[in-house]
């Protein structure tokens, strides 16, 4: 009996591993398959034909990738421009409505996103923002601000107030103190929030779909169109491309974001 004690654990671990790596393996197979149809359990022929198709200079994929990256970077800029001052204020000033304000940033998540984005799209029509990069960036920023503000506020809260007082005391003005003491010390947290916003924007689908299409196409939209049309290879390759920054940044965050900052998220 005791000889088999490891069995339940092994089965559970195996199932978890399958749940995580099964879809990824499927993705990898699709990305390398040239022909794969029912009832074959594995691709019929392998090859890189679709990679050439995705990466040929005139392809939709490269254009979408470019769009995705530009939109993600702009979203980071817009989000941080708001999140840094807001996060600092929330962390430092004893605002009576602090809790409420933090909650307000969560609000866009609380409502069904399709309903929200349909109405956003309607309003954006009025301003001529539909189908523009700016419109998509705004939609993504609303989404990204949640992470950005919460993480930035945690990062600022982790900076000892005495360190700022020491700078003020020795003659640095408030702005100088912020840029030479507070911001450098909060930088790892701010970078982490930038990364989260970037990844969120890169993966965002619903908002882009309602506000950007058909003029602005991003990788997730391309992936969607490709899989609807049965081009699983294209979808798989785009998915793999999207996976690269996600994994890379996750490793970065895991390495550089300190536990004391993470512990303050949402407080």
């Amino acid at each position: 009996m005791t000889a088999l004690a490891w069995l339940p654990r092994a089965i559970i671990l195996g199932l978890i591993a399958f749940a995580i790596f099964g879809p990824l393996a499927n993705l990898a197979l699709w990305a390398a398959a040239e022909q794969w149809y029912f009832p074959h359990k594995l691709p019929v022929t392998y090859g890189l034909k679709f990679w050439h198709q995705v990466f040929k200079p005139s392809s939709d994929a490269l254009l979408s990738l470019g769009n995705s990256v530009v939109i993600a970077l702009l979203t980071v800029v817009v989000s941080l421009a708001l999140a840094v001052p807001a996060g600092y204020a929330l962390a430092r000033l004893s605002l009576p409505l602090r809790g409420l304000i933090m909650l307000a940033f969560l609000l866009p998540q609380a409502f069904p996103s399709v309903a929200v984005y349909i109405n956003v799209a309607r309003i954006f029509y009025g301003f001529g923002l539909n189908g523009t990069i700016a419109g998509v960036v705004l939609v993504h920023a609303v989404h990204g601000l949640v992470f950005a503000v919460w993480i930035a506020s945690a990062a600022f809260a982790a900076v000892d107030r005495d360190l700022e007082l020491a700078a003020l005391n020795i003659g640095a003005g408030a702005l100088r103190t912020f840029f030479t003491v507070t911001l450098p010390l909060a930088a790892p947290g701010i970078v982490a929030s930038a990364i989260f916003v970037f990844l969120e924007s890169l993966d965002e689908f619903t908002g882009t779909f309602f506000v950007g299409v058909p003029d602005v196409t991003t990788l997730p939209l391309l992936m969607f169109t490709a899989s609807i049309a049965g081009n699983y290879q294209i979808a798989a390759i785009t998915a793999l491309i999207l996976l690269i920054p996600s994994v890379g940044f996750m490793l970065f965050v895991e390495r550089f974001l300190k536990a004391d900052v993470l512990a303050k998220v949402g407080t």
């Binding site: 700078a167 005391n169 020795i170 003659g171 003491v181 010390l185």
Partner: protein, 356 residues
């Protein structure tokens, strides 16, 4: 630059509805070293932070060299503070920390380097300028913090319990070093501490704060030997308290503890504000002596009791003496046995008497 004078005039401060400072007034002469002494919550740190501008004052005036600075922001007060936590910037080197204030003042790089070098040498930190402050020991960090404050040649140096995070052994040395530096540079210094001995050793004048008010201001010798109130007496180490009966007799007052002591005569003026028939006497264990239980000197109050406890902290014995239901700590060089009847001999000069 020589130190500035500092004048605090009826300053009040509050955290919400709680008044932390109640009309505190204090004048500090240029180059003087003043210690703000008190237990936690007495308002000493708040007073220091009000001077530095971190805590807004509700009313009153703080002036430096006669110029009102009460409304100036902290960065324009030309003071430098050494924080209890040192508050060194972990993303900078020791030299970066010390040179920060000079960079703000627009000094050029070679001049900053020279000044930082002087500071490092003065604080015995040679060769450590390029270290990140996180790689320094507690004592070294403390010196860097001091160097950062002194580098800008402040007119007033504020010390917020800067020694409380140091080992007891290092602390003794640093006390004297800080005092010597302050003397040499002629800076006015305000030092917050809860450590009586630290205040006594370092300060020219001690300000004892109690519940947001100044209980007494005086030289170390004054507050030690002539405490103005029962609070100051016990805070300054006269922790033995005995209640005595007092009665007027001609031009003197006769004091005694009933069956537990003899009676002595003191001049009327020695107890201010005496109205009732009760007096509280504070005395230090080291100012008393142990003798025969039945001694009856005219110039000494003798409390009769017996030894309840004995310990040897070094140099002398320390006895817990039970007198009636009370307990006193008394030092004596002789070895005595627990249970022995003794008399605690208290010369008039050792008694701090207050009206009850």
């Amino acid at each position: 630059m020589a130190g500035a004078s500092l004048e605090i005039d009826r300053v009040e401060a509050a955290y919400g509805p709680v008044k932390v400072l109640k009309a505190v007034s204090l004048a500090v002469k240029p180059g003087e070293f003043v210690a703000l002494l008190g237990s936690s919550g007495c308002g000493k740190t708040t007073l220091l932070r009000a001077i530095s501008g971190f805590v807004p004052i509700a009313s009153g005036r703080i002036s430096v060299d006669g110029r009102d600075i009460s409304r100036l922001p902290p960065d324009r007060r030309d003071m430098a503070m050494v924080f209890q936590s040192y508050a060194l910037w972990p993303h900078m080197t020791a030299a970066g920390n010390i040179g920060y204030g000079l960079k703000l003042r627009g000094w050029d790089k070679p001049r900053i380097a020279e000044r930082v070098g002087q500071m490092l040498a003065m604080l015995k930190l040679d060769g450590l300028g390029d270290r990140m402050v996180t790689q320094l020991s507690g004592g070294q960090r403390q010196r860097v913090a001091l160097g950062r404050a002194l580098a800008i040649d402040p007119r007033i140096l504020l010390l917020d319990e800067p020694l409380s995070n140091l080992d007891a052994r290092i602390r003794e040395d640093v006390r004297h070093e800080i005092k010597a530096l302050q003397n040499k540079l002629g800076i006015t210094a305000i030092h917050v501490t809860h450590d009586r001995e630290e205040a006594m050793v370092m300060a020219d004048r001690i300000v004892i704060l109690d519940a947001g008010e100044i209980a007494q201001v005086g030289s170390p010798e004054e507050v030690y030997n002539r405490p103005a109130s029962a609070f100051v007496a016990s805070f300054m180490g006269a922790g033995n308290v005995v209640r005595l009966a007092a009665r007027r007799e001609g031009d003197g007052i006769v004091l005694g503890a009933g069956d537990l002591s003899n009676e002595i005569r003191v001049p009327v003026g020695s107890i201010s504000g005496l109205a009732g028939a009760q007096v509280i006497a504070h005395f230090r264990g080291e100012a008393a002596s142990l003798g025969a239980a039945d001694a009856d000197d005219a110039d000494r109050l003798v409390l009769r009791g017996r030894i309840a406890q004995a310990s040897y902290p070094g140099g002398h014995w320390r006895y817990g003496v039970a007198v009636g239901s009370q307990h006193f700590m008394v030092d004596d060089p002789r070895r005595l046995n627990v249970g022995e009847p003794v008399g605690i001999g208290l010369p008039l000069s050792s008694l701090h008497l207050f009206a009850a």
